[in-house]
Symmetry: C2
């Protein structure tokens, strides 16, 4: 009798398993953005943009106006464009743009040309050749002038095709027109057209005093170095200056130099009339910021700043000014002076008596013009979208409803209170119509794979354009949940993502891997699809692992104090919080505390190595990618913000350095790096390896020749196969 019942149970179990295994399993190619089948398994998407106030859908073959009730009307096809061009130049319509709200003109950009086509008349209206070798290209739709770089020099090409070379002495040391300050402070480019396209501001970066990190290209016949200027913390850095070229006079003026105050010149903002250029200026210590205006015609600096901010830790300007379309004397500024990144209305003409006063973020501010906080509350403005010009509202995305949900809101610029425009849940992105009256909202949430909605920014009325099916419905998907625990300070809520193994059995104990980043300017948990899971986590859950991800203090969108708790001793508080996560994991009956692993990249590689060496009895296996090992080897701009210089903060640099910790290593730690990593240069990893050898410990190592700080394409798949194998070899 008993035998039979066991047999019956086995048959039942087998049947259940059959039912489960009938669902498909993922490959790494399905789950990694670099994988060959990745895009097949993504929620359906819709390419869209605005033509004035008309929402349009962009497909490979055509462009359709989205009409009432989610209808479609074809505006033109790719064949139409190619017919107008007289040759087969357009392969997809997904990249076209509509620069003029009122005119039926579409902009097409090929590697060789920018072309404007009247899609009603089906004829070319204008075309401008792109000079061979041009980079950093910026085109102004009003003037139709182009600005670009050839190598380290700046060129302007007028609408009529006239080419003007603005600089001639550009080289590896002196670079014009490119981004500066290693893309920190919100800087991502080096050429800035005035709104009317008649003046061009551009950066000059003198990096002659910065040594080149010896990066090696092994693909040459004989391996050779190439130039990679890398300013290390506390060492020589670059000199930045800004010039303005005037198309009418063909003269270049330089903004009045105010060294040594202006170590960083960030977030260049043109006044609507192009007469003034505003610059957020920051000292090298990054604790004193001033917003200055410059006369664009002469380069003369205003006698006093508009805004000043100081903080005992750091100030970090990240956003340009956004002038009100209906009043060029007022602009929206973003600042974290009151702890959260908020919108402030600046009245540039309304002078105030400048007084230094304490602000909510822990620093001080001194406003020389009227400044008014528009968004209030314990949330962060993640993105400023623009204005509804008629309603005089500012539109933004912020985590207003919950720290993990980033929703759409409007706020009147006269200070009336916020209005929720989108669903109150999920993580949203949006593009605004020309007047700002409408927007196209794309979002996902743990229960919504993807939705695209057309939203009226006055009323919040919404029309659904797309509701994507769950692309994984045929797959055996692990359970993904989120929750919060208390940080090591006992007060702060920290959010986690927890992924259980596929075919989870609560009576079993599973090996568990903590995925970690932990650094500033990033977060790993938000209320988007699957709580912002990474594909590899699904793969690991499928292999029978619990995956746990916790955003510790120091991470993004939780306010300045939350971030700045790590100041001058990176790693310490972050690890304490991660250990709270470990305690939580140990409380879960299905987590095998004897089989804990950890994996992270970049700052997460620093955290992984640190955790492996600081808690050698907790973590058995780790994979640290592109790690920071010694902040002395990290760059000036990012590094000195959080650590000051090694000269100012020797204790902090010494105690956060992982080299002396190499001796503690007990478990299996594999360090992986891009051999040509220009961000966390190989000196980090190789120094740790050297320290380990000297200490008699045995980390493992792998590198990707030719790759930088991250791996893409098939290398990314290869990498995650490698990471998975390491846990399979040693944690199972």
């Amino acid at each position: 009798m008993k035998r039979i019942s066991i047999l019956a149970a086995m048959v039942m179990a087998a049947t259940t398993m059959m039912a489960q295994t009938a669902k498909k399993s993922f490959t790494l190619d399905d789950l990694m953005p670099g994988g060959s089948t990745y895009w097949n398994l993504q929620p359906q998407y819709m390419f869209s943009t605005w033509w004035g106030e008309k929402a349009v859908e962009l497909t490979m073959d055509d462009v359709k106006e989205i009409t009432k009730g989610n209808g479609r009307k074809v505006l033109f096809t790719s064949d139409d464009l190619n017919a107008a061009l007289g040759e087969q130049q357009v392969r997809t319509c997904t990249q076209v743009a509509f620069p003029y709200a009122e005119q039926p003109i579409v902009k097409v950009q090929t590697p060789k040309e920018i072309i404007l086509i009247d899609f009603v008349k089906k004829e070319v209206v204008w075309r401008g050749a792109i000079q061979e070798g041009a980079s950093e290209l910026v085109w102004n739709e009003q003037s139709r002038n182009m600005a670009y770089c050839i190598g380290s020099n700046v060129f302007v090409q007028l609408a009529d095709g006239t080419r003007i070379q603005l600089t001639k002495d550009g080289n590896d040391d002196v670079v014009y027109g490119h981004s500066v300050s290693r893309d920190e402070f919100g800087i991502s480019n080096g050429l800035f057209w005035s709104p009317d396209g008649q003046r061009l501001a551009f950066y000059k970066k003198d990096q002659s005093r910065i040594p080149s990190y010896p990066q090696v290209d092994i693909t040459k016949r004989i391996a050779a170095t190439y130039v990679d200027k890398y300013p290390m913390a506390g060492e020589e850095s670059e000199d930045v200056s800004v010039a303005v070229f005037d198309v009418q006079t063909q003269k270049t003026v330089w903004l009045q130099n105010s060294k040594p105050m202006t170590d960083y010149m960030t977030n260049l903002s043109w006044a609507p009339d192009g007469q003034k250029l505003y610059v957020f200026e920051l000292n090298r210590d990054q604790d004193f910021m001033q917003l200055f205006g410059y006369d664009a015609a002469t380069g003369v600096k205003d006698s006093e700043p508009l805004i000043e901010e100081k903080h005992p830790k750091y100030v970090e300007p990240l956003h340009t000014l956004a002038f009100l379309p209906w009043d060029g004397s007022k602009a929206i500024m973003q600042s974290s002076r009151d702890n959260w990144n908020h919108l402030y209305l600046l009245d540039l003409k309304k002078k105030t008596y400048p007084e230094w006063r304490e602000v909510a973020g822990g620093g001080t501010a001194c406003d020389h013009v009227s400044v008014r906080l528009l968004t209030t509350g314990d949330f962060t403005v993640r993105e400023f979208l623009g204005f509804n010009q008629k309603e005089k509202t500012a539109l933004f995305i912020g985590n207003v409803t919950h720290p993990l949900h980033h929703t759409l809101h409007s706020v009147k610029v006269n200070g009336e209170k916020c209005q929720l425009l989108s669903a109150g849940e999920g993580v949203h992105t949006a593009i605004l119509s020309a007047s700002g009256a409408q927007l196209i909202d794309t979002y996902s949430s743990p229960t919504v794979a993807r939705q695209v909605n057309l939203i009226d920014t006055k009323t919040g009325k919404s029309v659904n354009l797309l509701t994507a099916e769950d692309p994984w419905k045929d797959y055996n998907v692990p359970e993904i949940t989120s929750g919060s625990i208390k940080a090591a300070d006992g007060v702060t809520d920290l959010y986690y993502r927890l992924i259980k193994p596929v075919d989870f059995d609560p009576t079993k104990k599973y090996p568990t891997v903590v995925y970690v980043y932990g650094g500033p300017h990033a977060h790993n948990i938000q209320a988007s699809r699957g709580y912002y899971f990474r594909g590899w986590e699904i793969y690991m859950a499928q292999k029978g692992y619990v995956i746990f991800v916790l955003d510790n203090r120091g991470s993004q969108y939780r306010g300045q104090k939350f971030e700045q708790v790590t100041f001058r001793h990176l790693g310490d508080e972050e690890m304490k919080d991660q250990m709270c996560g470990v305690e939580f994991l140990k409380s879960l009956p299905y987590v095998d505390a004897d089989r804990l692993g950890v994996h992270g990249w970049s700052f997460g590689g620093f955290m992984t190595t640190n955790l492996m060496c600081t808690y050698p009895d907790v973590f058995k296996v780790g994979v640290a990618g592109g790690p920071v090992i010694d902040w002395r080897y990290y760059e000036v701009m990012y590094g000195e913000r959080y650590m000051d210089t090694p000269q100012q903060n020797p204790e902090g640099y010494t105690s956060s350095c992982l080299l002396p910790k190499a001796k503690n290593l007990k478990g299996r730690l594999q360090i992986i790096l891009g051999y040509n990593d220009p961000t966390c240069v190989p000196q980090h990893s190789f120094s740790f390896i050297r320290a380990s050898i000297d200490a008699g410990t045995q980390p493992d190592l792998f590198l990707y020749p030719g790759d930088g700080h991250n791996m893409f394409g098939t290398d990314q798949v290869h990498l995650h196969e490698r990471i998975t194998r390491y846990f399979e070899d040693y944690l199972k």
Copy 2:
């Protein structure tokens, strides 16, 4: 009854195990030359040298004459030397020398001085300061002149202390007085005193056309490259020339340049009277060698060569001329022209009619003076020791009795036949007395841990000075045997070493690791202690592995044809032979053919990687150290000898390149390299890693920052812990 007998057997087995385990086990520190306890477990050694015809023993504290019947008489102590010096400069007497056969003078060299002390009078006879920063120092005992380099320039310091700078334009590109041709062709230094110390020959190396391989020093504040001129096969190489400085005239003359013939100028040999300098000259193709004499006073080249040799594969001059002490018109030359490296007597004054004729090695020779083969037979002269001046014999070490035994022999320079001087077994080294009448012979064999004997080079009569105890008598030592199998050609005997696991059980099947080198100029098996075992092999045997080592065709001391079978397609024949070894292993009942591993370094790293990728179903685990991956990345001198240039032999370079084979990898392969390897530059390993990533295979990698082609000291111990762990992880 049966139960009891099993129990009894278990008790017996346990007792046996107790008895066995009572013996000690080795640590890696015991077995690796870099280990902290290595020297404690080496057979007893004796430091000795000659003072004229008196054998002396050198110890830390004193120097003793070895008197009749292995007696000892103290000549002086280190205290005596320090007393004479007036300060504590001598810490050990093991490094002193006796430059004058007839005088009681000992030479002491400190980092700052060369000092001659009369050890009877206990007073300093002469002292010469060593200039700070001096390298390549060569001192001539007749003139007491010193020659040395400071950086890339040559200096002479006369016995009276006068310093003369011979060259001034030395730099990274133009280097004087250092070794040339990357130490190939028997070259190991760049300064050559004439016998009387009145003329100095020195090399000039112009390497300005050779790029510097981008080697990176990560110990700098910001990692930086340093100069490492590396001429890759088929690419630009160095220009070598030779100058002679005359102490009397203080003039430097340059040897008449005969480019493009003299791409290599090797084995500089002074005539006894210092009037002539002989140079073995070789073309870049390395298939045409000429021996030329030059007038040392004028640099004028003789109108015709003394000797010429050609070979369709290659000619490789490796040894200087050795002039007969009693007749400066005759000299011993070593050559492999007749397949084996033999001694030839040259009569420089006896002209012959120069005719090209075929020689036994497969090439041709054209002798312009009388040449007479002294040593005949199928053996190799491993080392020419010198002459017994009275008996007019040449003394040498060669594998006369058996390919694995390297014994001591004499041969009359008038051509009478060889005489065995030492034991007919084992591997011997020897140092000769001033007249050559006696020698001190040190040897070991599979049954002799170490013996030191004083041998009369006329009679072969021997006095035993030391018979070392087995240093491992308290240890549990694995069985080491040797034997031979047939090569892949079915004819040639190949010798192997086989190490069985400690506590070997013939009924078990053991994981087995093949250790391999396989390249030219090296051998792994000889009849010295433990058949020339490497300490790591003992460690692995202790861990339960069978270790197998086979010297394939292409390796050392087996004649030129044996070596040259690999010409233009390195790896092919070598692997075929290693696979014969695998077949042999598979015939052994205790070898587990499903658990075969392979490990090798340098050429052996090339072989390991090649075997893993060519026979992916045979080898499960491999560790390849500092491998050659693509012979295009290897150097001109060694590489072109065996492969010609990539331009001449594109098929050979392509078929021997391991990059396309990366896709075949199935087992676990770890590549390990010195990050600063100047021999097999990192481009080899990193290119293979890149190729593997592209092919989707997963080798492992480790590197030793700061280390070169090999690891020493504690790094060597760390390395072998690492290699062992890899086999333990994946082969067990």
